[in-house]
Symmetry: C2
Subunit: 316 residues, 2 copies
């Protein structure tokens, strides 16, 4: 299959701290071929470029499909530079896009991973056809992506959408690595959920040490545990406070929720929606939809591929 | 003077609930001529159109300078319609721009008043040369304007920038007319300050009934009253919490403060800046400037005139 020319196909790469996932994606947003490689602990910049070049060649040996890369951190998209990344703390102003373009002979578009996920949901997922979106990625931490008029808003320095660091507990909030207290990320997402479980103590505290605390907590909630249900309702309220502020600021019509925690959507989305209604006036709230991402684990790959397609179209 | 042709001049109208102010503004942002009329209590739509037509003709009798109008409320800029306005509760979907265009024979651009004020500060005031701005208008209540890439972001339905209704006191906050509790507007701005004074009681409570409570409170603070100083510091912290969330969301580099309360800027901007620094991570906070508007009472007129100029340029 890889030898066949795929008109309009692009390659999406989701570059994580432990592995890189890639997919050859056709113009309809379907993954034609996929691959995954481990990212070695020694994160030499040359090695990463070689690794990604081979990954891409394997998916599209004869072709020249443009590449989109989604990576965590502060990304200078215009110059294709990873300014800093939590997954690769040794990188500083790494010109990843340029290096990979030279090595692979293809156009390369680099994007922040949360931006790519939310863009993917707009391009071929839960928010298809929506133009104004505030999106939250609920994973280990909380990221975000802002889409205005169908385009990602990246901010003056490419740092827009740091929605995990919006304050939701103003006084006495949990300290956050960013220096603030009471950030959304400290209450929502896997790390935040673990902290909540530890703080609450009692029988739920045991779950804090499980490999997948959010999933185990959801199982307990689904089995009727009131305390577990209360933890999820509180997550929904935290998200509702943050989303209401975003809606008052930007007047978007769509809130997208993506990431691993959304498997428990039935346990926290109702509380989120109730908080949104309580905190926005009627004409502002009316017509706003909360949607849960449908692309799952492929969101980063599909979003990066969609961004590469968009960028290629713009450049032509 | 009014008979002289002014190349590139536009007319800005600041349509308030009790009076309409207008200015003929040249391309450099200077007001060449100005006028002001009382808005009658009987707010018949036809009367308003006649009133504004005469006001405009008086300023620019021979010319055809395009008109910009700033008005409070939910504005459908694209269609030039006042959907609803707190100053004119009897209006519902009033096609003010079209009506005035027909009556005056000029192009008319209609804009939300807070948007116009913040745009004015970018066009010819404190934020000249800035492209990415979150602006707060601190008057009786609190409004806002969002400028991204040099253009007003109005939102999916023209309601963006409702920054006065962002929650800053989550639990036990003051009830707001919008249905929420703890809105920024309930603590900052003249009405919010009055409430604070009433709640605090003691000697400051007397100031709550004064005609200009914020100004009298500032006088007390400047005279060394610690309690009055504490009220302003709290205003700064509320604004800092809100602005930090806006910066994390949008990565703007400029926070603009406009409106009457800014006469007391020395009493609350330091606390605002300290809260901003405490609540944003270093690379996000770095380079962010808080600036106080310089256009004063003319901000609405100048902003509306600048928007009319921009719209005329776009249409050509």
């Amino acid at each position: 299959m890889a030898d066949v020319a795929h008109d309009g196909a692009t390659i999406g790469v989701d570059l994580g701290g432990t592995r890189a996932k890639a997919g050859l994606v056709d113009a309809s947003g379907a993954i034609i071929a996929r691959d995954l490689v481990a990212v070695p602990e020694e994160r030499d910049e040359d090695d990463i470029v070689s690794l990604l070049t081979e990954l891409v060649r394997g998916l599209d040996p004869g072709g020249g499909a443009p590449i989109g890369i989604a990576a965590a951190g502060v990304i200078d998209r215009r110059h294709g530079i990873v300014r800093e990344s939590p997954n690769f703390p040794e990188w500083k102003d790494f010109a990843l896009a340029k290096r990979l373009a030279e090595a692979s002979g293809r156009r390369v578009h680099l994007e922040n991973d949360a931006n790519a996920v939310i863009y993917g949901e707009m391009a071929c997922g839960a928010a298809r056809g929506c133009e104004d979106i505030v999106g939250y990625t609920l994973g280990t931490g909380v990221g975000g992506g802002i889409i205005l008029g169908g385009e990602l808003w990246r901010g003056a320095r490419g740092m827009a959408g740091e929605l995990g660091h919006v304050t939701v507990v103003r006084d006495g909030g949990r300290p956050c690595g960013c220096g603030n207290h009471g950030c959304l990320e400290q209450y929502v997402g896997a790390v935040g959920i673990r902290r909540t479980l530890e703080e609450r103590g009692g029988k739920l505290a045991e779950l804090a040490d499980s490999r997948d605390a959010p999933r185990d907590l959801a199982k307990a909630a689904d089995a009727g545990d009131d305390e577990a249900r209360a933890v999820f309702a509180e997550i929904g309220r935290h998200l509702g406070v943050a989303a209401a502020a975003a809606i008052h600021t930007l007047d978007v019509l769509t809130i997208v929720l993506a990431g691993g925690i959304t498997h428990a959507q039935h346990l926290f989305v109702p509380a989120l929606e109730a908080e949104l209604r309580a905190r926005t006036f009627a004409s502002m709230c009316e017509g706003v939809r909360v949607v849960v991402g449908t692309l799952g684990e492929d969101a980063g790959v599909l979003g990066a591929a969609a961004l590469a397609r968009m960028a290629a179209g713009t450049e032509r």
